[in-house]
Amino acid sequence: MPEPTPRRSFWARVTGQSPFVVTLFALVLGLIVGAIVIVTTTAPVLDAWRGFFSSWSGPGHALKVTVDNVGAAYRIMFTGSVFSPATLWHAITTGQGWTNALTPISETLTYATPLTIASIGVGIAFQTGIFNIGANGQAMMGGIAGAYVGTLIHLPMVLHLPLTLLAGIAGGVLAGSVPGLLKAYTGAHEVIVTLMFNYVVSAVLLYTLLSTALQAPGQQNDIARTLDPSAQLAPLFGTASGLRVNYGLVIAALVVLFAWWFLERSSLGFDFRVTGANPQAARASGINAKAVIILVFAISGGLAGLAGVTELAGFYKTLDGGFLVGNAGIGFTAITVSLLGRNKPIGIVWASLLFAALGVGGRAMQAATGIPLDLATVIQSAVVLFVATPVLVKEIFRLRTSPTAALQLATKGWGS
């Protein structure tokens, strides 16, 4: 008797089991969740659904209004963050309005730049089995250090800009090394120390901004001097282009390349990955656990610091009390982005582009339709939740797992 072939669903055959596909479906599910939120919170749509049974045209009307509203919201999200075919076509045919056509993608890239750098830092730590929840504080420290060098020292750009960036990295290394040293030598749990360190750095930020050293002259508020132009990351296409995307993008690209080489090709990166995958085997193989912990915190913190100073020198230009606070807290978003990108450099690039696009597009949607920006956050959160629960996504889309090719979660838990 021939072996009965096990049931292979359409999706399983078409898509295989790659993490990329699961992420894509998670995005679709996230958009569906967003659509439900739109339907239940937008008055005209809700009204249309209330009239579902009131006439023969009720159901059709309800569906139409739903599709119209959700469609409009998502269309504007896309055109506001990637490009609008109409304006792009206009620019191509007439040669006019290029700024208009390219602004959405430029904005997305601008937001993605520091996010990518910070997420790479968090991702390298995750791959080593370390939870760096303190990336935001480390980025803030990078911004503070960058502000010192960028406002108090005056030099030609060839020296000033690199020095400012280096100061940012140094600030991040400093903020990251404290938890690293504490963990290596006392066994203090990095999650608690890094988390608490965020508050310490927040207080340092406000303190320095209100001190006479950094505060802009004549100011009573928590606002610093503006960085010297020689310490700023200039717009990539010149100030005249009107596009905000800046040379930070080049830095981010270099960081991605470095991270790929580091994790995939370097001996130290190999030690890191072995430590992350199996700390006991790492120890038995002669890897110095203390050194790895100290180094990974320095590298992860340094990258977070670089992200902070890139954000300052390329975007804010002026350090103030709102730097990386609340929604702008890229160091926190970086944790989610890194998980979404499965802690791999290339995955992180895609994940941070997605997050930046949802944020930028969400703002455009809020302006055009009145649907609050928070919808973007709902979608972001839903996507991450679905990615974190691959089993659920596979069940919903009937992506069956073979017994050997089970998808691995990005991290293993609150490991030490």
């Binding site: 001996s267 072995v274 038995a284 193989s285 073979s402």
Partner: protein, 504 residues
């Protein structure tokens, strides 16, 4: 009880663990189920015991088709199972453990200790299984703990007893005692299904032998069949069971351990004053029941556990309390006891695992950048030389069978210049074919002048490989003997008796 399996098939996804298995256990019969690890023995037991549902086929008890939806139903129907890992509460007394789940109670739901005790006494007496009902389980030797498990099954009126690899943790004397118990139970009409991969035990006790391989019954055998015949049925090809060794001419000392004291995780002295030497071109086999300090001793040699006092020298160089890196660089190769925990990174490729402790050694890396071409070349060469069965050098090491995972570690350790080779439980969980291979490798390294220290709880392995046998008990060496020493003497040493009294 008469148990009959007809055409049992169990699949997990695309993997078929059991394929159309037929098997009959007659009342009063000791039926051995012989198969390698991963042959599907445990799956089949779980089907019988109601923990898994078969996809096809049926289970008949005394001729009646039966389907258990959980193990409780199986217990009530008279099936008892003694698991490989005991299901006992260590801090409870024997009586409490035996009645657990079926406790006799007095008024107000109070536990009736008196009745529990009596129940145990009556079952003990009926089957001649002496255990003190008031003893605390964790204070009993392993052999007695197992007896408690058997008592527990019998007190639930088990008519069929399933014993899953019951001898793995026992000393030779305890194994003999267990066999006696099994015989007397069978004589009183109980049916026994005995699962094992150890040929000696099968030959000693079986009435009927069923051999399974890759989830299918490959045939039945008689206890009178030779071990070689049984092994080749189990593996599917001829295997060489005896280790052939040339006589030994040991050279200089490569490992010298003096008065070593090492504490375990609880802070107790697990190794308590051990002195031991290994010379070049010699295999020293360290025998002993698990948990007598062997693990801690090897960890101390490998630099993974702090040495309290005493010294360890390799070729005259003191490596006491050196880091694992320094120990590796001193030329110590180490096959750890738990290969998946300490020896491999399962989520990495075979090639990466083959350079796990030499990633910076030329030509695998230069200036901090790895040379993946050299890493892969190394992997291709070792996969061929050590016959590692893998689809590719880039395959994850987790996709390999246990035997091939062990070959990866052995290949890695033996591919760098060594003066001492330490292997802890080198063949645990391996199939006969892989055991044969690993043994040959170890002997050939000895012949090439390497000093070898083997730690094993399998007496057969110790006797087959060792040029000298050191027996460890309670953190101390209770004797160093010649491999021609009788199993009984070594067994006594494993319980802590000294050689003089053992010979007397």
């Amino acid at each position: 009880m008469r148990l009959e399996l007809r055409g049992i098939t169990k699949r997990f996804g695309t993997f078929t663990a059991n394929h159309r298995i037929d098997l009959t256990v007659e009342p009063g019969q000791i039926h051995c189920l012989l198969g390698e690890n991963g042959a599907g023995k445990s799956t089949l037991m779980n089907v019988i015991f109601g923990l898994l549902q078969p996809d096809e086929g049926e289970v008949l008890i005394d001729g009646v088709t039966t389907r258990f939806s959980n193990s409780g139903e199986a217990v009530r129907r008279g099936i008892g199972m003694v698991h490989q890992h005991f299901m006992l509460v260590p801090v409870f007394s024997v009586a409490e453990n035996v009645v657990l789940g079926f406790e006799p109670t007095k008024s107000f739901d109070r536990l009736d200790h008196q009745r529990a005790r009596e129940e145990i006494r009556s079952v003990s007496q009926a089957f001649n299984l002496e255990v003190d009902p008031d003893a605390i389980v964790e204070e009993l030797p392993v052999g007695l703990q197992q007896r408690v498990e058997i008592l527990k099954a019998l007190s639930h009126d088990a008519e069929l007893l399933i014993l899953d690899e019951p001898t793995a943790v026992l000393t030779p004397q305890e194994i003999d005692a267990l066999m006696a118990i099994m015989r007397s139970l069978a004589a009183s009409g109980k049916s026994i299904l005995f699962i094992t991969h150890k040929l000696k035990e099968v030959k000693a006790i079986a009435d009927v032998i069923t051999v399974i391989r890759q989830g299918e019954v490959v045939g039945t055998a008689q206890a009178s069949d030779s071990e070689a015949e049984l092994a080749s049925m189990m593996v599917g090809r001829d295997v060489n069971l005896t280790v052939t060794k040339a006589s030994v001419t040991p050279g200089d000392e490569v490992l010298a351990i003096t008065d070593l004291v090492v504490r375990d995780d609880r802070g107790l002295a697990a190794v308590n004053g051990v002195s031991l030497t290994v010379r070049a071109g010699e295999i020293v086999a360290l025998a002993g029941v698990q948990g007598n300090g062997q693990t801690e001793l090897v960890e101390a040699i490998a630099g993974m556990r702090h040495v309290e006092s005493g010294t360890i020298t390799v070729k005259g160089v003191d490596i006491t309390n050196h880091t694992p890196r320094q120990v590796l660089d001193a030329g110590v190769g180490h096959v750890p006891e738990d290969r998946q925990l300490h020896g491999l990174v399962l989520s990495m490729s075979v090639a990466d695992n083959l350079v796990l402790n030499t990633p910076r050694r030329a030509p695998f890396a230069r200036h901090g950048s790895r040379n993946l071409a050299a890493v892969n070349e190394n992997a291709e060469a070792l996969v061929t030389r050590f016959d590692i069965r893998t689809t590719s050098t880039q395959a994850l090491v987790s996709s390999l069978s246990g035997g091939n995972q062990q070959k990866v570690i052995v290949a890695r350790e033996l591919s760098r210049p060594l003066s001492l080779f330490v292997a802890s439980q080198p063949t645990r969980g391996l199939d006969v074919g892989s055991i044969e291979y690993v043994h040959r490798q170890i002997v050939s390294q000895r012949d090439d002048g390497l000093g070898v220290l083997i730690v094993s709880s399998e007496l057969d392995e110790v006797l087959a490989l060792g040029d000298r046998i050191a027996v460890m008990h309670a953190g101390q060496i209770s004797g160093v003997v010649d491999p021609s020493t009788s199993r009984e003497t070594i067994g006594l040493l494993m319980t802590g008796a000294h050689v003089e009294s053992a010979d007397a």
